[in-house]
Every structure is written in C-alpha cells, then in structure tokens.
C-alpha cells in the first residue's frame, strides 16, 4: 500500500518562561461536617476569604509544572457551655506540585498534589495553635486575558481536597499572571 505524504505543520515556537500567578477570592467549605453536638447553633461559618500563589514553569511543550501555596479558612464555629464560650477555626495552607495545560486559547486547567498544612486556632479558656500535615490535592480551571506581553488578568475556579482528613473547599478567585522571566 502506498503511503500518503504527511504534511507537517510546525508548532509555533514558544519561549520558555516562569509565570507567577497570584489570586484572591472567596472559598466555601464543601465537605460534610456535623458539629451539632458541640457547635453553638448557627455559629458554623463555611465561607472564607482565600488566596493563592503559584509559580509555573512554561516549557516549550504543552505540559507545565509549578509549585503552589496559599491560604484558606476551611470553617470556624463557636461553642458555649457551662465552662464558658470559645471558638475554633481550621485553616489550610497548601504546598503542592502543580501540573497545568492550556486546553483552549486562554483556558488552562491545573491539577495539584501534595500536602495541606492544617492549622487549628482555638480560643477557649486560653489559646491553642496546633497543626498537622495531611495529604491532599486540588484541581482548577482558569481563564486569563492578556493585559500586556507580561501581564494577564483572569478568573479561576478551584476545588481543594485534603482527602486524608476529608476536608474540601471550592474557591473562586480573581487572578493576576505575571511572566517573571523568559528565555530562548
């Protein structure tokens, strides 16, 4: 059988770069939590401001690699009993290796795997700060509009999942992308 000639279309040449992405927005604790036996009724708050910082390496090929951290408050609540009243909040700081890919023009998807540092901040007849490292992951999708050759502004939806402790949150963020460094 004769072979057809395949017409090769060269990929547009991309210059490798490092891109810093900083975002801020709001998160909602989406995992199940039942605190009815301890929490003061109505005191459970699952909404929180959230922020993230991501440094991505954009190589010549499609798959990108980076590191991510940030901050979110999973939930907080109050207790009132005969001994007094108090409150506790559970915060999460992700430390993730992130893979990313552009799937459509300006549309990127992200998947991260690593750890969350969970911080307990408790006030009840004294203060306690305690923490633990747990395994987790995240997935995100972002849409970024270029503002200049180095700057972009975008929106990102992200799901954070500290699966070891069954904690999860959904976040919506406004994101600023800055091409920090580029080389040939």
């Amino acid at each position: 059988m004769a072979q057809r000639k395949v017409k090769k279309t060269p990929l547009p040449k991309r210059k490798p770069s490092f891109v810093l992405q900083a975002g801020g927005g709001i998160s909602y604790y989406s995992a199940a939590v039942n605190l009815s036996s301890v929490a003061y009724p109505g005191s459970l708050n699952k909404w929180s401001p959230t922020g993230s910082l991501r440094m991505m390496w954009y190589p010549r090929y499609r798959l990108r690699l980076g590191l991510e951290t940030g901050f979110t408050n999973f939930y907080r609540y109050k207790v009132r009993d005969t001994s007094g009243q108090g409150q506790v909040s559970l915060q999460a700081i992700p430390v993730m290796i992130v893979w990313s890919m552009q799937v459509l023009p300006r549309l990127n998807i992200y998947a991260g795997f690593g750890s969350y540092r969970l911080n307990t901040h408790l006030v009840y007849r004294g203060k306690v700060n305690s923490y633990d490292w747990v395994l987790g992951s995240n997935i995100a999708v972002s849409y970024t509009l270029p503002l200049s050759k180095r700057l972009g502004l975008g929106a990102e939806a992200k799901w954070m999942n500290a699966f070891e402790t069954k904690d999860a949150a959904f976040a919506l963020q406004v994101q600023l992308a800055w091409k920090v460094f580029q080389w040939d």
């Binding site: 939590v33 039942n34 605190l35 036996s37 301890v38 999973f74 939930y75 907080r76 609540y77 207790v79 009993d81 001994s83 108090g86 506790v88 909040s89 559970l90 998947a111 795997f113 969970l118 911080n119 307990t120 408790l122 009840y124 007849r125 004294g126 306690v128 305690s130 923490y131 633990d132 747990v134 992951s137 995240n138 997935i139 799901w159 999942n161 699966f163 402790t165 069954k166 904690d167």
Partner: protein
C-alpha cells in the same frame, strides 16, 4: 485522577438494626427473667437450622451492665463461623422465654434481627423453676433471623448440648481498646465509656485501654498520638492530643459515635461501678512519670475492694521507656503491672503478668516456667480465628487479648 480516585473511595458502614419492632416482645405482660433461669440457660448448643450461616455450635452466655439505676442483661451467642455473634435481651411471657436482638458477622458488614423463643414445652418450664438443672436436649431455642432491617424469616434452632467450659484457673478474655477497633464498625467508639459498658456482650471478661495525658496533665483514654478521623468526628482540632487541655477536648471533640473522650477516672469508674468485668490492662501510650496513673490505679483498686469486687488493674509496660519509668516509682515491686518485654524484665519489675506478642508462638515451656513462679501469661493481639483456636487448644496462656473477644469466647467456652 488521584483526586477522583481518593474522593470516590467506598466507605463501609454497618447500620445496626432497630430491635424494637417485635410486637410480642414489647407487649404488656412480659417480665424479666429470674437470675437462675439466665444462669441455667448458659451453655454450648448445637445449631440446627442456621448452621450453614453460623456454624454447628454456639456458646451462649449472659452479661450485664449497670446504667443509671437500671441493670440491663443481655444474652450473647458466640459462633465459630465468620466471627459471628448475636446479642439479645430476654423476657418471659406466659411461661415462654423470648429473646430479641441482633446478629453480626465481624468479617463483613452483615447484620440483622434475631428473634428467639424457648417455649414452655421446649425447656422454658424447666428454666423458670427456682433451681433449674439442665441436661443435653432439655432446652431448644427456636427462632428466626433476617438481614438488615428486614422482618426476620430464616429459621434458626439451638439445642442445649453441655455446660460452658471453664478451666481450673481463671481465663481472661480481653478486649482490645476497651472492646474493639473502630475499623470493625461497632455501634460505639473504641476507648469510650460506652464501649466499656458494652464489651461484656461481646464475650469480654476484661479490657485493655490506652492511657495518654492532656496538656493540663489529665490522664485520658485515647489510642493515637493525634486527633484524627479514625477516632474522632470532625472538630476543627488537629495535631497531637497533648496540645489540648481536657476542658478543650471535652468542649470541642467527640469520638466517632458522639461520645466524649473519657478520663482514666471515668473509664475506671465505669469498669468498677457498672460492669461485671474483672480485669483492666492500662496500656501506657505516653513517655513520662507513671506516678499519677499509679495513684488512680490504687484508688480504684481500693474502691473495688470496698464494693466487694474482685478486680485487677495492671499498668502495662510495653517498651523500655515505660519500663524504666516504672522502676523509678517508689515501691514499684508492689504495684500490679504487666510486662510485655523479656522474662528478665518481668522479674526486675516484679510484674504479675508476662505478655509476649503472639508472633513468638505458644512458648509453652516459658509459660510453664512463669506459672511455676506463681505468675501468669497473656498473649496479644490475636485476631485470626485459627490462631485463637490454636492458642486455646495448644497453648497454656491465662488470657488472650483480641479485637474479637467473641471469637476468643467461642473457642474457649466450647473447648473440652
């Protein structure tokens, strides 16, 4: 992909059936069983109908716990298949004995209702006499069992065969973590007061409990080093349990079935005042002075003696650090202890009990030497039914620590 796989992992659970649906058992006119009937009913029974599900023999035994002003009695049947057992309450009605409860297989999530009857003609008349004497075939228990909450319809039948086995020296059926692990999906949490009150239903005669300290120096019962979902409900509290005071744990943390983390005092109080259990193994999970634990041990031994209860509370020595801390106690030699280390360490600490792990075998020669010194030997932690059977039939230990005390109870009581 990892996120999806981990998020979709199946969680197993056992929903205990509601046993309050048998109208006859709850009808007016039922009355409690007399103590003599309960005692006489205990024994080894042949399983007729139902042997394909539960095996050919069952060991039936009564237990009790005191809750508030009430004493609740339960009859349990231990089987040799799939670590199965049933737990029922008992009443009499019009000369018949009714037993109503649930069954469970510990190798799976299988459970369901069980409803049993001893009719007047099948032995109830004999059992309800003031001083019943039962021989083989005198008592026949007929009934039905079902799956889950469904109305039980599958027939089951037990026929009295012989008395329960009791060795010449007392044998301890010890339950790990006060009754069993959370991973075995029991209806109450491990290391809880509620489990201590329930564990005799699973065949236990004693318990092992894990002792740690809170930030403010209160000894509590808790297994792991940190707060986690294996032992507690979500609370927002993470990290080492010793980072928190007892008041904080009590206000913010609940065990997986909603109980509070008990203090050592609460646990021993339940043991002494509310159960028929006779042995507590305090597994010291912390490194530090044993003085406070010993003070509480002595306090509750005295309290038990005042109540006429013949019980033992021993401090476990699982590692070299705890061993060294034990030797630094004044009068350590007169402090009841259990040594998991070498026989030489046992002698140094003057421990009452030597407790090697089961992987070292039955060690019959060493156990015989321990017995010759007037001491005892327990083995831990035996969970495989074949091993439990082997250690009971071929070994000479004075007790077995297991997550499945019902399995130990079966092989011990049916032993001949």
């Amino acid at each position: 992909m990892i996120t999806l796989v981990v998020s979709c992992k199946k969680g197993y659970q056992v929903t205990m059936p509601n046993t309050g649906t048998w109208g006859l058992f709850n009808s007016p006119g039922t009355a409690a069983l007399p103590p003599a009937a309960r005692a006489a009913m205990e024994g080894v029974y042949d399983v007729g109908n139902g042997s394909d599900v539960f095996g050919s023999l069952t060991a039936i035994k009564w237990s009790y716990a005191i809750v508030g002003n009430d004493t609740s009695f339960h009859v349990s049947g231990f089987f040799g298949t799939d670590i199965a057992y049933f737990v029922c309450e008992g009443r009499q009605l019009n000369g018949n004995i009714l037993l109503n409860g649930y069954w469970r297989k510990m190798v799976s999530t299988e459970t369901g209702l069980v409803r049993l009857t001893v009719t007047d003609a099948n032995g109830a008349a004999l059992l309800l006499t003031p001083s019943p004497v039962i021989n083989a075939g005198d008592v026949v228990i007929n009934g039905v069992f079902g799956n889950g909450q469904e109305e039980p319809q599958q027939p089951i039948r037990f026929t009295y065969k012989r008395k329960l086995y009791h060795s010449a020296t007392p044998f301890n059926i010890l339950a790990h973590r006060s009754g069993g692990r959370n991973s075995d999906l029991l209806p109450v949490s491990e290391n809880s007061v509620e489990m201590i009150l329930k564990t005799a239903e699973f065949g236990s005669t004693g318990i092992e409990i894990d002792v740690r300290f809170t930030k403010d120096g209160i000894p509590i019962i808790y297994h792991d080093n940190d707060l986690n979902l294996r032992e507690t409900q979500k609370s927002g509290l993470v990290g080492p349990i010793e980072n928190y005071t007892y008041a904080e744990l009590s206000a913010f943390v609940r065990l997986i079935h909603g109980e509070r983390i008990p203090t050592l005092r609460q646990a021993l109080s339940a043991f002494v005042d509310q159960t028929q259990l006779n042995f507590v193994w305090l597994d010291t999970k912390y490194i530090g002075s044993l003085e406070r634990v010993r003070t509480i041990q002595q306090e509750f031994l005295q309290r038990a003696a005042q109540h006429g209860r013949n019980v033992e509370i021993v401090i476990g020595l699982p590692g070299q650090e705890q061993f060294n801390n034990f030797l630094s106690l004044t009068n350590f030699a007169s402090t009841p202890s259990l040594c998991e280390l070498s026989v030489e360490n046992l002698h140094q600490a003057n421990s009452l009990i030597w407790a090697p792990r089961f992987t070292e075998g039955t060690q019959n020669d060493k156990v015989a030497a321990i017995h010759a010194e007037g001491k005892r030997a327990f083995v831990w932690t035996l969970d495989v039914p074949e091993f439990i059977e082997q250690y009971i039939n071929e070994g000479h230990f004075d007790g077995i620590l297991s997550n499945y005390p019902s399995c130990t109870a079966f092989y011990y009581y049916v032993h001949q």
